[in-house]
Amino acid sequence: MSIFLAQLLTGLAYGMLYFMIAVGLTIILGVMNVVNLAHGTLFMLGAYIAFTFINDEVNFWAALLLAVLLTAVLGLVLEKLLIKRIYGKELEQVLLTFGLSFIIADAIEWIWGTEMHTLPVPGLLSGSLSIGSTAFPLYRLFVVFIGCLLALLLWYLETKTRVGAIIRAGVDDRAMVSALGINVGLVFTGVFAFGAALAGLSGVLGGPLIGMYTGMDSEILVTSLIVVVIGGLGSWKGSFIGAIAIGVIETLGKVWFPSLSMLTVFLIMMIVLIIRPQGLFGREVA
């Protein structure tokens, strides 16, 4: 029982990391109709940037903040310079974002090498919390807490703020929003940068758990795409539920059926798609 609970926490923590990265992917998809295949690379880049700062004796939290800011800025520049030009052109989007992911991944290899790295757990959170006979690592609890906080923030932004209303209206009828005087392009840039920042955040927070290694960007991208599909394209709530489900099932699957763990994830996706083709929270498409 106690081992099971500890594993459940691990699964939840992984789920929250998946949520943080998938949510950017799904929002960018829902709002701008762009599948950003470079999203996994932004995750990896965030982790490496924090790694560099931490090696320079910068404290974990400051490194986290800097990495998130820098990935946001990179997202902003990419959108303004490149993505902006190809809204509505799906093939170009796939080629561009896929190409970007290669370029960034190669740059990472060139700068940081191919060795596997991990980030240290910040001192404050290195202990664990014992309840009964189970020890829950504080850092994993913290990641779960941040994931829930992010969900709360997104709920607030979506339903209670003007920006949230503009984004919802933009998904309904983009041209009408612009005809009412709102610079939809600026909103898109903001959404893209926000998504990039969340990918960076997820990468840094994942550093002590998953670490960084060559090829992790495509692994995490595939997992995030599965989460997005399960949750329903464009739905952050769906991503939240989907990511938790994948995190937990994958973690428990690794323990119980080590040889089938990736299969279990795909199996879940298939079952969801058979029952609800539009995903858990997806809009029905005509």
Partner: protein, 237 residues
């Protein structure tokens, strides 16, 4: 206030606006009539920047609009009440109004529209402020579309078939609102199929056929001219 000069517009290779020229003076209401497919909505969209003209000039308060994106055109003081109302289904009635809200820029003593004033004009919207846009009746949606445009505090209103699909009583109500808005100082270009509504609200009537303005005159002039009504508006006498 608004001037179109020889505007030409295409959808792909189909030639829609074939040299449209007209103007709307400050404080006036001009009605644009014509059969389905004549190019009225294309005219509205071309002014609002949702569709780009190939040739010709569009000036608002003496500023060229042709190369501006829609949000900048809106910010110069042009409000759009589109055909089919295009209420945002994911937004509540209140959010549909507050989302585009902008304070009045022009210092001409006009009304500064805010939520309270819109609710005064359309009390039914206040009653339903927490409903989602698409839960309203057609007439209420039209009121919401007008209110939403007013919330941007425009000096000029583009209205595309506000009476479409509404019951006669509601059409009268909408007609009165339009007259009221004109009296409050707004300049208006209204596209209509309903001749009675157009003649009640407008100072000048334009008739469009196959992408050209083929007739212009006063409401009385149109009422007196059954030949024109028959030829271009499909009114049988």
């Amino acid at each position: 206030m608004l001037e179109l000069q020889d505007v030409h517009s295409y959808y792909g290779t189909s030639y829609i606006l074939q040299g449209v020229t007209f103007s709307v003076l400050k404080g006036k209401c001009v009605a644009l009539l014509g059969r389905n497919g004549a190019g009225k909505t294309t005219t509205i969209h071309t002014i609002a920047g949702l569709h780009k003209a190939k040739r010709g000039s569009i000036r608002f308060k003496n500023r060229p609009l042709e190369s501006l994106p829609p949000h900048q055109i809106s910010r110069l003081g042009i409000g759009l009440v589109p055909q089919g109302r295009r209420i945002f289904p994911s937004l509540t009635v209140k959010e549909n109004l507050t989302m585009p809200a902008r304070k009045r820029k022009a210092d001409d003593g006009g009304i500064n529209w805010d939520l309270e004033k819109i609710y005064e004009l359309f009390p039914v919207l206040k009653e339903r402020e927490n409903n989602f846009g698409t839960q309203l009746s057609g007439g209420q949606q039209q009121m919401l579309a007008i209110g939403r445009a007013l919330m941007t505090n425009p000096e000029f209103l583009l209205m595309d078939e506000p009476s479409e699909g509404l019951a006669p009583v509601i059409i009268d109500q909408i007609g009165e609102i339009i007259v009221q808005l004109k009296e409050a100082g707004l300049s208006i270009l209204i596209v209509e199929q309903n001749i009675a509504l157009a003649c009640k609200a407008a100072d000048e009537i334009l008739i469009m056929n196959k992408g050209k303005i083929v007739w212009s005159g006063s409401p009385d002039g149109l009422m007196a001219n059954e030949g024109i009504q028959h030829k271009y508006l499909g009114v049988s006498s």
